[in-house]
C-alpha cells in the first residue's frame, strides 16, 4: 500500500473527502513518481491546481513542482538531499526540513521507509491526530508480526514528533473540522470494478497483464480463494477473451479487462460474442495511444473504437463510469445487461480513473443486487425430442440459453451463420431472419437505455457535454464559474451506446452554447452526438497530453473562447 493510500484512508476515516492520483513513468523504480492527494471537509469531484504541501523525497521533486507552489505552501524535504533556501522560490513558502533518512536509520528501518516518516510529518503539518494514521498502519499490517506494526508506527511517530517539536508555530495548514459521516471506502476504480464483478456473481476472469488494469488482476487473484472464483492469466488477450466466452457459454458470468493495445487483439472475440450471443463483460482501461503510446498516462481515445469493434453487424452496449462509485455500480449493471441481452457489454474506464483512489460511501457497496440471468432454459422443461432451439426467433430478439450438460439442451454455439438450432446455414432467408433477430435487441435495449445526466444550473446558457471520467473536472469547473457569476450546466454521458439519441436531442436541442469536453484529440463524443442527432458542437475543449483535466483550466478556457 502506498503512502498516498494510507494518508487518504487516515483522512477518510475522520470524515474528510479525499481523492488520490498516481502518476509514474513506465518504469518499476526510478523516474519521477508522483502521488497527489486532495483532502477537503467539503465534497469535490476532481484534483485542483492548489498545491499546499509538497513532500519531496528527492531534490528533483522540488525542482519539478516549484512553479505550482503558492504563497504559504509548505515544502517538506530532507536537508540531506539538498539544503533549500527561501530565496530559491518565486513565492514565499514555508520550508520544513525533516531528516527523513536519519530518523529511519535511528529506528533501524530500511531506506524506503522515509515515506512513513514523511507521512507522520504530513499528518502533523495538517494538524490531524497521529492515532488516525497509526490505526491505518495497524490495519494494513495486521497479518504481520507485532514488531513490524510497532516499528512502522514508531517511524511515523518520529516524523510527526519532529514537526511538532521544530515547526509547531509554523504550521498553518490546519484543515477545517470535518462532519461525522458513514464509513467510506478509499479504492482504485479497478478495485471498484472488481468488487462490482464479485457482487454481480462473476465466476471467471481471464486477464492478461496491462496498465492500467493491473490492480483489478491483483484484486481478483487475491480474492479468488475466498470468493470461489477463478482468475486465469492467459497467454495473450486473444486467448483471454476466447476463454471468457467459453466459460460464459458454459454458464458462468465472465469478464476480461485490458487497455487499447490488448483490446485490439480481442476484437475478433467481440464479433464471436456477437454471433454466438454469449454474454461477456469487457473492461477497457483507456490509456494514451496509438500503439504502445504513453502506457502509464490517461486518455479517452477508444470510444469510437469500441462502438465499431468487430467485423459484421451485431448489437452491443457501451457504458462509461465517471468515478470509483460508478465503476462499482456500472460493473454490476454491465453483468446484468450482458446476461439479459446476451451481448458484449463494455465498461470504458481509463488510466486516471483506474489508478486513482476514490472515496465512496460504504452503503453503496452494501446494497442488495437482484441477479437477473435473463432467458436461461429450465432443464426440466427442455423437450425430450431434441427440438430445443437455442436461437429461436423471438419478438425481443432474445432466445433461451441452455448450458452444456443440461439434458435435452444440445445445440451448437456456432460462429458461422446458423439456423435456430445452431446448424450452419447460408440460406438467404435464414440469414436475413437471424441477422434481424440479433439486431432486434438494439430496439429492445431502449427500455434500459439511460439518457445523459444533467449537473449544474439547468437554465444556463452554457452547456458542457462530457463522458466518463471527464465529469469530475467539469463539475468542479462549473462551481468555479458560478463563483465568478457565470452559470453553466453539464450534460454528461455514461450510457454511450446504443446512443440515446432522442433524450440527447431533448436536452441539447435548444442549447445556446455547447462546449464539448473530452480527453482526446478529435472529440469522439461530439462526433457521436452529431451522427445521431445532427447537432454539431463547434466549441471543444480537448486534452490529449496524457494528464487529466484541471477544473481551473476548463473554467479559464470558457472565459477565453
Amino acid at each position: 500500500m502506498s503512502a498516498g493510500t494510507m494518508l487518504s484512508r487516515a483522512f477518510s476515516r475522520i470524515g474528510y473527502h479525499v481523492l488520490t492520483t498516481n502518476e509514474y513513468p513506465s518504469l518499476i523504480r526510478g523516474g519521477h513518481n508522483l502521488i497527489t492527494t486532495r483532502i477537503s471537509s467539503k465534497y469535490f469531484e476532481s484534483l485542483n491546481k492548489d498545491l499546499h504541501i509538497l513532500v519531496a523525497l528527492n531534490k528533483e521533486t522540488v525542482n519539478l513542482h516549484k512553479s505550482e507552489l503558492t504563497e504559504g505552501s509548505v515544502v517538506l524535504y530532507d536537508p540531506k538531499d539538498y539544503e533549500w533556501k527561501t530565496e530559491e522560490f518565486s513565492v514565499p513558502v514555508v520550508l520544513m526540513g525533516v531528516p527523513l533518512t536519519e530518523l529511519v536509520t535511528q529506528f533501524k528501518g530500511p531506506p524506503v521507509m522515509r515515506n512513513t516518516v514523511a507521512l507522520g510529518a504530513t499528518i502533523a503539518v495538517l494538524g490531524a491526530p497521529l492515532e488516525t494514521l497509526s490505526e491505518v498502519i495497524h490495519d494494513q499490517f495486521k497479518d504481520k508480526k507485532q514488531a513490524i506494526i510497532d516499528g512502522n508506527i514508531a517511524i511515523a511517530k518520529a516524523g510527526y514528533d519532529y514537526i511538532i517539536e521544530h515547526y509547531k508555530d509554523k504550521t498553518s495548514m490546519h484543515l477545517a473540522p470535518s462532519a461525522k459521516r458513514e464509513p467510506h471506502l478509499v479504492l482504485y476504480a479497478s478495485e471498484a470494478v472488481g468488487l462490482g464483478a464479485l457482487k454481480a456473481g462473476l465466476k471467471f476472469a481471464a486477464i492478461y497483464p496491462m496498465t492500467p488494469i493491473n490492480a483489478l488482476i491483483a484484486f481478483l487473484a487475491d480474492h479468488a480463494e475466498k470468493m470461489n472464483i477463478v482468475y486465469k492469466q492467459p497467454e495473450d488477450e486473444i486467448s483471454g477473451i476466447n476463454m471468457a466466452i467459453g466459460a460464459s457459454m458454459a454458464g458462468v458470468r465472465s469478464m476480461v479487462a485490458t487497455s487499447g493495445g490488448g483490446f485490439a487483439l480481442m476484437v475478433e472475440g467481440v464479433a464471436l460474442s456477437g454471433m454466438l450471443e454469449v454474454p461477456i463483460v469487457i473492461d477497457l482501461g483507456m490509456r494514451v495511444g496509438p500503439a504502445t503510446g504513453m502506457p502509464t498516462w490517461t486518455e479517452q481515445g477508444e470510444l469510437q473504437m469500441v462502438i465499431h469493434a468487430g467485423h459484421g453487424e451485431f448489437p452491443r452496449i457501451v457504458l462509461a463510469p465517471s468515478d470509483g462509485a460508478e465503476a462499482y455500480s456500472m460493473t454490476i449493471e454491465a453483468f446484468q445487461l450482458a446476461d439479459y441481452y446476451q451481448v458484449p457489454v463494455f465498461l470504458l474506464t481509463d488510466k486516471y480513473m483506474n489508478e486513482s483512489q476514490w472515496c465512496a460511501p460504504l452503503s453503496l457497496f452494501k446494497k442488495d443486487v437482484a441477479i437477473n440471468r435473463g432467458k436461461v432454459a429450465d432443464e426440466s422443461k427442455l423437450p425430450a425430442d431434441g427440438s430445443f432451439k437455442r436461437y429461436s426467433v423471438t419478438e425481443d430478439g432474445i432466445s433461451p440459453r441452455s448450458f452444456p450438460g443440461m439434458k435435452n439442451g444440445v445445440y451448437f454455439a456456432n460462429a458461422y451463420e446458423h439456423n435456430e438450432q445452431g446448424y450452419v446455414s447460408d440460406d438467404p432467408t435464414n440469414r436475413t431472419v437471424m441477422a434481424g433477430k440479433r439486431l432486434k435487441k438494439l430496439e429492445t435495449m431502449k427500455k434500459d437505455m439511460r439518457g445523459p445526466s444533467v449537473y449544474g444550473d439547468r437554465n444556463a446558457d452554457i452547456t458542457f457535454v462530457s463522458w466518463g471520467s471527464s465529469r469530475g473536472p467539469v463539475i468542479d469547473a462549473i462551481e468555479i464559474l458560478k463563483n465568478k457569476g457565470i452559470p453553466s450546466r453539464l450534460v454528461h454521458f455514461t450510457w454511450m451506446y446504443p446512443f440515446p439519441a432522442e433524450l440527447t436531442q431533448t436536452l441539447l436541442g435548444n442549447s445556446k452554447r455547447i462546449i464539448d469536453v473530452e480527453q482526446n484529440a478529435t472529440g469522439q463524443l461530439a462526433a457521436l452526438i452529431r451522427e445521431h442527432t445532427g447537432i454539431e458542437i463547434k466549441e471543444k475543449i480537448l486534452k490529449f497530453d496524457g494528464r487529466p483535466f484541471y477544473p481551473e483550466d476548463i473554467a479559464e478556457k470558457v472565459r477565453n473562447i
Partner: protein, 286 residues
C-alpha cells in the same frame, strides 16, 4: 441409459470428399464416446475451423464452433466453468498449430483435463490445399509450388516439450486402434493430444492411406513403454520408412483444475450467484 453411436446422428450428411480421412476420425469418436458412456448432453466438443471443424453438423452433441485457431482457449474456459464436463477439442494442424500455435503450447503447460484430436494432413484443405505448419519439406502444395522449404512443426515433440501428459499418434485408417486411443485419451486426467494421420484424398496424392500403411508400426507391439520423456521425444522424431504410432508418452500430474480452490464448492456453473457476501472484503478498503 447406454449410449450408442446412433445417438450422435443428426439430419445432416457429411460434406467431406468421399474417402476423406475425417470420416475415420468422426466414426471413431462416436464409437469411443459410446464406449465411454458419454451421451450427446453429457459433454461438449469444441471445433476449430477447417474441413475437420465441419463435423459438428453431423455430430449430435453440445458443440462450440468458434473462430479459427481458438479451440483451446474456449475449451479451457468451458472446463473451468464446469470441470465435471468432458471437453473434447476437434482441431486441425492448421487451426491448432498455425493460428492456434501459441495457445497450444500454453494449454499443454497448464495441463487442463481436455482431449485434443488433431486432424493432421499437412494441408489447409478447406481453402483448397495450401501447406500447413506440419507440411514436410519438399511437399508441393498450392502455396508451395516448389515444395515446402521450412522445417515442419512436430505436434508430438511440441506436446511433450510443452508439458502435455498424454501424447499419442493415431491413424484414421485403423479404426479399432483409433477408438482405443480415443477412449484412453478421454479417460486420461490431463492434457491429452492425439495427432491423427489423416490423408487428404483431394489435395495430397503423395501421403495416401497406402503410403501410411507401408510405414506405420504400432509402438505397443514392439514392447515400447510410454513413461520416459526422452525416449518419447526420440520416437516423436522418427519419420521416414518407419513411422511409429500409439501412445508415446503418458504421466499423471495435477491438472489445471486441481489448482483451483474455488472448485471445492462444486463446478462454478452450479454455484449460486445470489447474495454474495462482500462484508469482509469491504473492510480492506476503509
Amino acid at each position: 441409459m447406454t449410449v450408442t453411436s446412433e445417438d450422435f446422428k443428426t439430419a445432416y450428411k457429411p460434406t467431406w470428399c468421399p474417402g476423406c480421412g475425417n470420416f475415420g476420425i468422426w466414426m471413431a469418436l462416436k464409437e469411443a464416446l459410446a464406449k465411454l458412456g458419454i451421451g450427446p448432453s453429457d459433454g461438449i466438443v469444441v471445433y476449430g475451423v477447417g474441413c475437420h471443424g465441419n463435423m459438428y453438423d453431423w455430430m449430435n452433441m453440445y458443440g462450440f464452433v468458434g473462430l479459427h485457431g481458438r479451440t483451446l482457449p474456449v475449451a479451457q474456459g468451458i472446463k473451468l466453468a464446469n470441470h465435471s464436463l468432458p471437453v473434447i477439442v476437434v482441431s486441425g494442424d492448421g487451426d491448432g498449430l498455425g493460428e492456434g500455435g501459441n495457445h497450444f503450447l500454453h494449454a499443454a503447460k497448464r495441463n487442463p483435463d481436455i482431449t485434443v484430436i488433431l486432424h493432421d494432413n499437412q494441408l489447409y484443405s478447406l481453402t483448397t490445399g495450401q501447406a500447413s505448419p506440419t507440411a514436410k519439406p519438399g511437399f508441393k502444395t498450392k502455396s508451395t509450388p516448389k515444395g515446402v522449404f521450412d522445417a515442419p512443426v512436430n505436434p508430438l515433440l511440441l506436446s511433450i516439450a510443452s508439458g502435455a501428459t498424454f501424447v499419442a499418434r493415431a491413424f484414421s485408417g485403423n479404426l479399432p486402434h483409433l477408438i482405443g486411443l480415443m477412449v484412453e485419451a478421454v479417460n486420461h486426467k490431463g492434457f491429452a493430444v492425439l495427432d491423427v494421420m489423416q490423408p487428404c484424398v483431394t489435395f495430397d496424392k503423395e501421403h495416401t492411406y497406402d503410403w501410411f500403411r507401408q510405414r506405420l508400426y504400432q509402438l505397443e507391439s514392439e514392447g515400447y513403454v510410454p513413461d520416459n520423456k526422452l525416449k518419447a521425444m526420440e520416437k516423436a522424431m522418427e519419420w521416414g520408412d518407419r513411422i511409429p504410432y500409439g501412445i508415446l508418452y503418458k504421466e499423471q500430474k495435477p491438472t489445471s483444475e486441481d489448482h483451483e480452490s474455488a472448485f471445492t464448492a462444486g463446478p462454478l456453473v452450479k454455484q449460486p450467484l445470489e447474495n454474495i457476501d462482500l462484508e469482509e472484503v469491504l473492510k480492506e478498503f476503509i
